[in-house]
Amino acid sequence: MQRIGVFVCWCGSNIAGTVDVHKVAEALKSEPGVVIATQYQYMCSEAGQTLIKDAIRDHKLTGIVVCSCSPRMHEATFRKTAAAAGLNPYMVEIANIREQCSWIHKDMEVGTEKAIILGRAAIAKVHLNAPLVAGESPVVKRALVIGGGIAGIQTALDIADAGFPVDIVETKPTIGGKMAQIDKTFPTLDCAACILTPKMVDAAQHDKINIYAYSEVAEVKGFVGNFSVKIKQKARMVDPVKCTGCGLCVEKCPMKKVPNEFNLGMDKRSAIYIPFAQAVPKVATIDPTACLKMKTGKCGLCATVCEAGAIDYTQQDSFIEEKYGAIVVATGYNPINLDQFDEFAYNQSPDVVTSLEFERLTNAAGPTAGTLLRPSDGKHPHTLVFVQCVGSRCDGAEKGKSYCSKICCMYTAKHAMLCREKYPDTEVYVFYIDVRTPGKNFDEFYRRAVEEYGVKYIKGMVGKVAPQADGSLLVQASDLIEGEQLKIKADMVVLAAAIEPDQSARPLATMLTASMDTNDFFTEAHPKLRPVESPTAGVFLSGCCQGPKDIPETVSQASGAAAKVIGLLVKDSLTCNPCVAHSDELMCNGCSACEKVCPYGAITYQDKEFRMPDRTTAIRRVASVNPAVCQGCGACTVACPSGAMDLNGFSNSQIMAEVDAICK
């Protein structure tokens, strides 16, 4: 039998005004197990807490009930009080007689009666409380960042600057991501490379950062503070340590007809290649699908010319296993495939390009060395038509994406403006449904495109792009303001294609047991209050993997995620919430119902050997809850038909005892 103390708070007149606290204390004194029941003006005050502490010692209390304000207010306070007196803090229950009693009832009799019942329920519950000890799990002080774009780089730098080692895993041969392909950035028109490449170098040179380029995450095990990750390093056929990045091999390689993915296939590269001049790591990579040596066994020129002896045609994929305390997902985005939108003739004319392609066409390191030229004939275009919302905001049409891709309005304004600035002889049209410019200096930027640069913004949409015999593109569009159907003879059409999460995201989410929405964007732990964390503890989100974002927003989120990671890694161990689920192995059926409803992947199964009552042994599949991962929602406890799964602090019997006390 527990020895229970009951402490009724007046809260000045807040409670005592409509609840007869003396009567409550008196009534509760006669409840079974109650050895002391008393009242005081302010239980949460120093004096009130001393009163509780003394009572715990003097009466050798094993549990206490405080009848006071909401547990949301002072449960933590009274738990600390109990702990200070040597009582397990989880032996404290609060009866909420202020917010849920005295403040809503005007009649003293009614209020008092209800307060007594609430007190009884708390006493009934505390009878069944068990001392809980918050478990601890150690934290591996190393972070993994998946994705080496600006989001991943920023996160890694911030974490590393705080003194924690970070590994970046990037599938491409170099880090840099989409930002490396972008020419200028809105709304300031800084050169993207000028602000990105120093960061890439910082990352490469940081003694706390280790970059696994041309690598993928192959397997993730473990949980917050203690992930175990297997990383696959794809064979480059080049020893990255020996390679100096001199580029001689690239120059000599006879196979020079491979579409260059960095320039989105608008020019060619060689079979051995370095994606771009500022690549990090600056190491050559052999494309095995194009390399003559790899395909036919004949050639080997690169090995001959490489003075460092870095070429190794026999290289195999290798695996690294590493432990991490936290994982940051920064897998980024891609423009969608436009096959289903060929009314815009993307597949019919090389002069219809996506906005990302347009970036390359205006970039000094791009296929045209920065001069805007039509891909079809290399001529200077005079009339350009930009089409916004291509594949975005599609709903009910069974193609495209239902969401707004967010960045297109601004980059289109940027493209249009730069076009007019650099080539004043051009005529630039932008077809828009809405221009969305929420952001610092964004609307001003868009207005500048219209007012200073004379970009012709037309409210309406393009219905068809018809490639003509003379090489021009006849753009048929509506002008909803003028009420006209326009036919514009254009030289180039630029499509603001919707963006979607990278394809690697979904399998990764499965490995991480992190949740995703229907569009394959990672879900945040809370859309407002925890936007950089995944609901899965220890997994953080950075950049477009969580939703469409521009660069400043991506960088903010990247730093936010880094701060969260640092906050985790500075701890030597994690104190776990002890109010978590636990499975009674003797009753567990191993049916997996609990595992299916657990949002955190906290439940795993193992085959265990049990001694049976008849002295035989049997192997049974049983669930076990990882207390470091469980958040204590209790979904599993109801899914479990046998009642093997229960929740500390809110056990089946505790809740039923409260029910009984209330319904008595």
């Binding site: 009753m587 191993g590 299916k596 192997i619």
Partner: protein, 322 residues
């Protein structure tokens, strides 16, 4: 059929495919065949199978597949649904069962036969649309439609869901009218429904037969037997379990019940317990999309799943009769 099954069982024992056979043997009467495990050809002489053989064997496999070696199980279409569900829930190790699927045309309900005034029953044989019942007093022919077990009258499927081989003919999933009775109840007034269930459930003697036979009730320890669950039937003082047993049981098997009908078959008081389960199945089908437990071994059950736009519980107010 019985001979063919026996022969096949002996073959499979002889060639080492299995070391035991799960089937049925005669009980006290000619019509109460009880599940039995046979481990030799000799023992198999006791094996019986006819149109009275009704028991679903799948549940026995929970225990049997924990034993050494592979066991042969003869499963009717109903039973294969149960086996799939048990496999999904990791209760049965499918690799340790050799399933011989047997076609089923529906089983006879001995109570219905007796109600026709037929006594001294010695055996039964199907002949077309009739059963020929052998009795001490000669053969009697009864129309199948008159004596088929209730669950067979509204059979949902004669298709075998899982098997290693088939004896007899595999059937098809049937577009049955199994929900008719549930619907009829739904269309009654609340008072009528209450009267109906009070009449039915007041006959319950809490013998636990329904739970013990149910292939979805395979808990290591039933909550009703567990003193720590807070709802166990520890003392007469607590009548909770008495009252709520069937509702809780139905909820525990909701989304998992394959509608095999064993609960009602074994109820000594003839309570139509399957209607509770079937009500859940009907609700699930209507509210969350068609779902048949035991159809496969990997889909997510309706109660361990959700969609963002599921209906609200207030839908109960909008449907049916107050």
């Amino acid at each position: 059929m019985q001979e063919a099954m026996m022969r096949r069982a002996k073959e499979l024992l002889a060639d080492g495919t299995v070391n035991r056979v799960l089937g049925w043997q005669k009980g006290e009467f000619a019509y109460d065949h009880t599940p039995a495990v046979f481990d030799s050809a000799d023992q198999l002489e006791q094996f019986v199978y006819d149109d009275f053989t009704a028991a679903n064997l799948s549940k026995y496999l929970v225990k049997e597949t924990k034993q050494e070696g592979k066991i042969l199980a003869f499963l009717k279409p109903c039973d294969t649904y149960s086996l799939n569900q048990l496999t999904k829930e990791h209760r049965v190790n499918r690799d340790k069962v050799y399933v011989v699927g047997i076609g089923c045309e529906g089983k006879a309900d001995v109570e219905k036969i007796k109600a026709l005034g037929i006594d001294g029953i010695l055996g039964i044989k199907a002949e077309g649309d009739n059963f020929v019942v052998e009795t001490l007093y000669g053969n009697q022919t009864v129309a199948k439609t008159d004596v088929l077990a209730e669950r067979c009258v509204v059979c949902k499927s004669r298709k075998l869901m899982t098997y290693d081989e088939i004896l007899g003919e595999d059937g098809e999933v049937i577009n049955s009218n199994r929900f008719d009775m549930v619907e009829k109840l739904e269309n009654m007034t609340a008072d009528e429904r209450f009267a109906f269930w009070q009449n039915e459930l007041s006959r319950c003697i809490r013998c636990n037969a329904c739970r013990n036979v149910c292939p979805a009730c395979t808990c290591e320890k039933c909550v009703f037997d567990n003193v720590n669950s807070g709802i166990a039937n520890t003392a007469a003082a607590d009548s909770f379990e008495e009252k709520m047993f069937h509702v809780i049981r139905a909820f525990h098997v909701a989304g998992r019940c394959t509608d095999c009908g064993e609960c009602s078959r074994v109820c000594p008081q003839g309570i139509p317990l399957h209607l509770l389960n079937r009500k859940f199945i009907k609700d699930i089908n209507e509210l969350y999309g068609e779902y048949q437990a035991g159809e496969d071994t990997d889909s997510k059950g309706p109660l361990t799943n959700f969609t963002y736009d599921d209906c609200e519980p207030s839908i109960v107010h909008e449907r049916g009769v107050e």
